[in-house]
């Protein structure tokens, strides 16, 4: 970024504060669990499931975030599942003031990758019913671009540039006519180039209700569920060389009504992400709304542990 020598100091300070405020608005949802948040539902040994999840999130003040998350699940054994989540595309847009001129700027590029292991620690199965508990252990790899647009702050870059970890525990109770799921988790990042993203606690819950068909006699191969999920995230403030980054961190609670169409081979979901409560230090900017789609396709291989 080039600024005239005379005004570089105050403008840089103003720009820094403004960008940090914007970063906190978008960054507050960094840890929000994806649709649907990871569950403890069964994954057969040898199953490979590929999910594509496009998402758009908007904020007041012409700020927005769009992205495509690609997820691969592999049933390594009846109890162990290997999961790789790759933020294939991330695009963050926000108004940025440079030299007294404000314009929308966008940082677009490849995001980070999360590698997780899931272990089914507890299960009770019955005819048409299963209850399972599964902890997750994950590592964030800084595979993304943390300097896609030099005019954008660190928190708005597609990648974090930092290693991180995530631990969570998920419980799922599936019945023929409804499913209930819940998850709590924690994630944190290591310091990278003097910047440390705030650690996050998150809690999710979901309920899916069978709309169609109402009669499950015979070889039923398609179902439609109404879905209502909720996501809560509390994120601590970021730190730059040990100092708290002003305006970072916050809490966001969303309610997500949606619909699910599922067959044995594939599943298509769509969900709205609506704010219920938000306490984000973002210079008056507020989370507005989001939408999330999901396409899931299953493959099979006879190979497993």
């Amino acid at each position: 970024m080039r600024l005239s020598h005379g005004c570089r100091g105050p403008i840089r300070a103003l720009l820094t504060v403004f960008l940090v405020l914007l970063a906190s608005a978008l960054g507050a949802q960094r840890a929000r669990a994806q649709l649907t948040f990871p569950s403890a539902s069964p994954v057969s040994a040898g199953n490979v499931v590929v999910r594509l999840e496009p998402e758009i999130t908007t904020f007041s003040g012409n700020a927005s975030s769009a992205g495509l998350l690609a997820v691969g699940l592999y049933g390594a054994s009846p109890d162990w599942t290997v999961i790789v989540q790759d933020h294939t595309l991330v695009s963050n847009t926000a108004p940025v003031t440079v030299g007294g001129h404000t314009a929308n700027r966008t940082a677009t590029g490849i995001g980070d990758t999360l590698m997780e292991l899931r272990y089914t620690a507890f299960s009770i199965d019955d005819v048409g019913s299963t209850f399972r508990i599964a902890p997750y252990f994950g590592i964030f790899a800084p595979t993304g671009m943390d300097n896609a647009n030099a005019a954008m702050p660190r928190g708005l870059q597609p990648g974090t540039g930092a290693w991180g970890q995530r631990e969570a525990i998920s419980a799922t109770w599936n019945k023929l006519f409804w499913n209930a799921e819940a998850q709590v988790g924690y994630e944190n990042y290591a310091q990278s180039a003097g910047y440390t993203f705030g650690d996050s606690f998150y809690a999710d819950a979901g309920f899916h209700y069978l709309l169609w068909p109402r009669n499950l006699e015979g070889d039923v191969n398609a179902e439609i569920f109404a879905s209502l999920e909720t996501n809560y995230t509390a994120t601590n403030k970021d730190r730059m060389i040990g100092a708290v980054v002003p305006g970072s961190g916050g809490q966001l609670w969303t309610a997500d009504p949606g619909i699910i169409y599922t067959t044995p081979r594939y599943s298509v979901d769509a969900t709205a992400l609506l704010p219920v409560y938000q306490h984000i230090s973002a210079g008056g900017r507020r989370y507005a709304w989001g939408v999330l789609g999901l396409f899931r396709y299953a493959f099979f291989t006879e190979h497993h542990w």
């Binding site: 069964p42 199965d125 019913s129 009504p257 599922t262 609506l274 299953a298």
Partner: protein, 138 residues
């Protein structure tokens, strides 16, 4: 502008419509939840009407929706003597058709179910059970 292109079909005014439709559908179908029949209430009747006699019927616990059937069916189809598999969600029943002259031991069926991340239940072999029930064949 990327943002304009993305948000063009995602107008905020569509949100109340989606919520209203889901709420209405949920309310209309709520009565069905109360009337949901017990999943295995008529298992014996289901087994009795199964044909042909060479088919194997097996209870599988934990299968609740179509997407979870995929791995189960593919696991069972890995068994060489299995020709086709159907699954009845309501009764938790796998309907296994064998190839002509083929057979499969119970433990191999149970292992396939465990690998599919589900719990095997009772196995019904209508033809064999009918043979055992007939005194002339003993």
């Amino acid at each position: 502008m990327r943002r304009t292109a993305n948000s063009g079909s995602l107008l905020p005014c569509r949100r109340p419509g989606l919520v209203s439709v889901l709420t209405l559908v949920l309310a209309l179908s709520a009565a069905g939840l109360v009337k949901a029949p017990a999943a295995h209430a008529d298992t014996e009747a289901f087994v009795a009407q199964a044909t042909p006699d060479d088919d194997i019927l097996m209870i599988v616990k934990g299968v609740t929706y179509p997407f979870s059937k995929f791995g189960l069916i593919r696991r069972l189809k890995q068994i060489p003597s299995v020709e086709a598999v159907w699954f009845d969600l309501m009764h938790g029943m796998a309907h296994i058709r064998l190839k002509p002259g083929g057979d499969v031991p119970d433990n191999e069926l149970r292992r396939a179910i465990v690998n599919a991340a589900y719990t095997p239940g009772e196995i019904f072999r209508p033809k064999a059970q009918a043979s055992q029930a007939a005194p002339a064949l003993h």
